[in-house]
């Protein structure tokens, strides 16, 4: 019983991290119509930058949360720059844009290997969350519960941003019909930069927040990118609810698959995606077929 309960909590925690990662991926996909293949790299970059501050590689140590915010901002700026300087040069050419993101992801992976080396970095759990919380006689790691709370807070904030603000309304308009949005005076290309920076920041935040659980190692990007891809195919592009539900489903399948069928974990992970592709190509909550 305890085994299943702990597995469930782990699944929801991982689902929360996946939501942080894939919400940005889904928004970028919805708006710019491209799968951003650097998304795994942004996750890893966020984790590495955050770890640098937490471990004190630059000679000073920062508080975990301060480091998380700094890493998020740094990577968001990198994302905005990449969009401005490279993707912007290829307007409307989605294939070329995808290939550029692919090229950038290799450069980022090798850059991380060059700067931080090949050994995994362990990020210590932030102070005060290292212990356990006892619920009905079962001990849960406090930090994992904290991640669930953080992910839920970010989800609510994102929903408010998209549903209640002017910027959110413009983004939704851009997702639904970019040409019409341009006609009514929305600067869609500016939205591209904003959404790209937002998505990059969210991915980096997920990376550093997930650091104490996953640790940071070369190849983390290649582990996370397919997961983001599966979540978005499952949930549908451009839909926040879709990423949320998709993340939770994949969180469960990933953890239960690893525990019960370790040899076929990847296969089990991708099965629901194939089913969705066959039965409902636009995803559970999506409106466009990619």
């Amino acid at each position: 019983m305890t085994f299943w309960l702990v597995l469930t909590v782990n699944s929801i925690t991982f689902g929360g991290l996946l939501f942080l990662l894939s919400a940005g991926f889904s928004l970028i996909f919805g708006l710019m119509r491209i799968p951003n293949l650097t998304h795994g790299s942004l996750f890893m970059l966020g984790a590495y930058v955050g770890a640098t501050f937490v471990v004190g590689m630059l000679g000073f140590q920062l508080n975990f949360w301060l480091a998380a915010v700094l890493a998020t901002l740094t990577v968001a700026a990198c994302g905005a720059l990449a969009e401005r300087l490279l993707l912007r040069r290829l307007p409307g050419d989605q294939l070329a844009q995808v290939l550029v993101t692919l090229g950038l992801s290799f450069m980022a992976a090798d850059f991380c290997l060059m700067v931080w080396g090949g050994d995994p970095l362990n990020i210590t759990t932030p102070a005060g969350l290292g212990g356990f919380v006892r619920v009905a006689g079962v001990a849960f790691p406090a930090y994992r519960l904290a991640i669930i709370v953080i992910a839920a807070l970010v989800a609510v904030a994102l929903w408010l941003l998209l549903d209640r603000t002017r910027l959110g309304a413009m983004i939704r308009a851009g997702v639904d019909d970019p040409d019409m949005a341009r006609v009514v005076g929305i600067r869609v290309s500016q939205l591209f930069t904003i959404v790209f920076a937002l998505g990059a920041g969210l991915a980096a935040f997920a990376g550093i927040i997930g650091g104490p659980i996953l640790s940071v190692y070369p190849g983390l990007d290649q582990d996370m990118l397919p997961l983001a891809l599966v979540v978005v195919i499952l949930g549908g592009t451009g839909s926040l609810l879709g990423s949320f539900v998709g993340s939770i489903i994949i969180g469960f399948i990933y953890n239960f698959g690893q525990a019960l069928l370790p040899e076929l974990a990847y296969f089990v992970l991708f099965m629901p995606m194939l089913l969705v592709l066959l039965l409902r190509p636009q995803g559970l909550f999506g409106r466009h077929v990619p």
């Binding site: 995808v98 550029v100 450069m107 850059f111 397919p226 040899e263 974990a265």
Partner: protein
């Protein structure tokens, strides 16, 4: 046309005599690699260049044929059986890939092939009882068709060359055939092709099978060349490398993928001799080519050449017309 024939003859003679003018075995092996990757790139080019479908999962298909060969040899089958099974497994996986990914085109096709490629990588990495996981599978011997042993670099090179020439000839026929024309039609005008009565899906499916056959053949050559297969061969990096070969050389041309394969293999072997930063360079070349020369090196240099030619000959022409009263 005659200039073209001469160029072809020179290239052919150069390829046949490689073991005589190359300075050593190492370079003959590099030449074998270029040829086998050319076959792989030609296979991917059928989809990327002629069908307009960009696949990011082809390393998975390449790897599955290689794994099938290695696995059959490991359980004690002969070389013929291993190669036949590998071809069947490769083609069957390609057919499955095609059925799943041809539900969409463009970005959707990229995403689905990427995900399928990652599944195959995940299986190779995790299904340890079948694939040996990270340790991979070693292949002890190379085949000896009609008593002709392939163990030396030279004999292996010639075998690869024969397969390569056959593949290039098949591609040349394919491109000029009515089927090749209809495939290009589905790339440029799918709706119009449909209205004309062509079965667009089926044409694309057959193109996938052609691509899968070349990919499987190159996968088998690869596993006999390295005599080892591990999950790294199926990783996204490998899919991207072969896509880079096609795109850098020039998608939709016959020569482009071969030039691209030569470029990537040479840069990779030369560069890895000096520094370890191959992936960084790969990514940088990728970004540079997509932004600066999106049509690829072969069509790009042809365009530049023609432009220069016109610039050079234009003043002469105007002078000639002025000379006439």
């Amino acid at each position: 046309m005659s200039a073209r024939l001469i160029a072809l003859a020179v290239a052919f003679v150069a390829l046949v005599t490689v073991p005589y003018w190359m300075p050593g075995d190492y370079y003959v092996n590099v030449a074998s690699q270029i040829l086998l990757y050319s076959i792989f790139a030609l296979g991917l080019n059928v989809l990327v260049g002629y069908a307009g479908l960009v696949s990011l999962g082809h390393a998975g298909l390449f790897g599955i044929a290689a794994y099938a060969t290695a696995y059959m040899l490991q359980i004690g089958a002969g070389h013929t059986a291993a190669i036949v099974v590998a071809l069947i497994v490769g083609m069957a996986s390609m057919a499955l890939f095609a059925v799943l990914s041809l539900r969409s085109t463009g970005i959707g096709f990229i995403m689905i092939t990427l995900a399928l490629g990652e599944i195959l990588w995940g299986l190779a990495y995790r299904w340890i009882s079948l694939t040996g996981g990270d340790n991979g599978i070693s292949v002890r011997t190379r085949p000896e068709p009609f008593g002709y042993s392939l163990t030396s670099p030279n004999t292996f090179y010639y075998t690869t060359l024969i397969v390569f020439v056959l593949s290039v000839a098949a591609m040349a026929v394919f491109v000029r055939s009515p089927f090749g024309a209809s495939l290009k039609g589905t790339r440029d005008q799918p709706r119009r092709m449909n209205a004309l009565g062509y079965h667009v899906w089926l044409i694309r499916f057959y193109a996938c099978l052609v691509s899968g056959l070349l990919t499987a053949v190159s996968g088998i050559l690869f596993v006999y060349y390295t005599q080892f297969i591990s999950p790294q061969t199926l990783a996204l990096t490998s899919s991207a490398e072969v896509l880079l070969m096609v795109i850098s050389g020039g998608a939709g041309t016959l020569l482009g993928p071969m030039v691209g394969a030569a470029l990537v293999v040479v840069v990779k072997t030369v560069v890895s001799g000096f520094i370890e930063r191959w992936n960084f360079l790969l990514g940088a070349i990728f970004v540079a080519i997509v932004i600066l020369m999106p049509e690829g090196l072969v069509p790009g240099s042809v365009r530049l050449w023609r432009l220069a030619w016109r610039k050079l000959s234009a003043p002469a022409k105007t002078a000639a017309t002025e000379g006439k009263p």
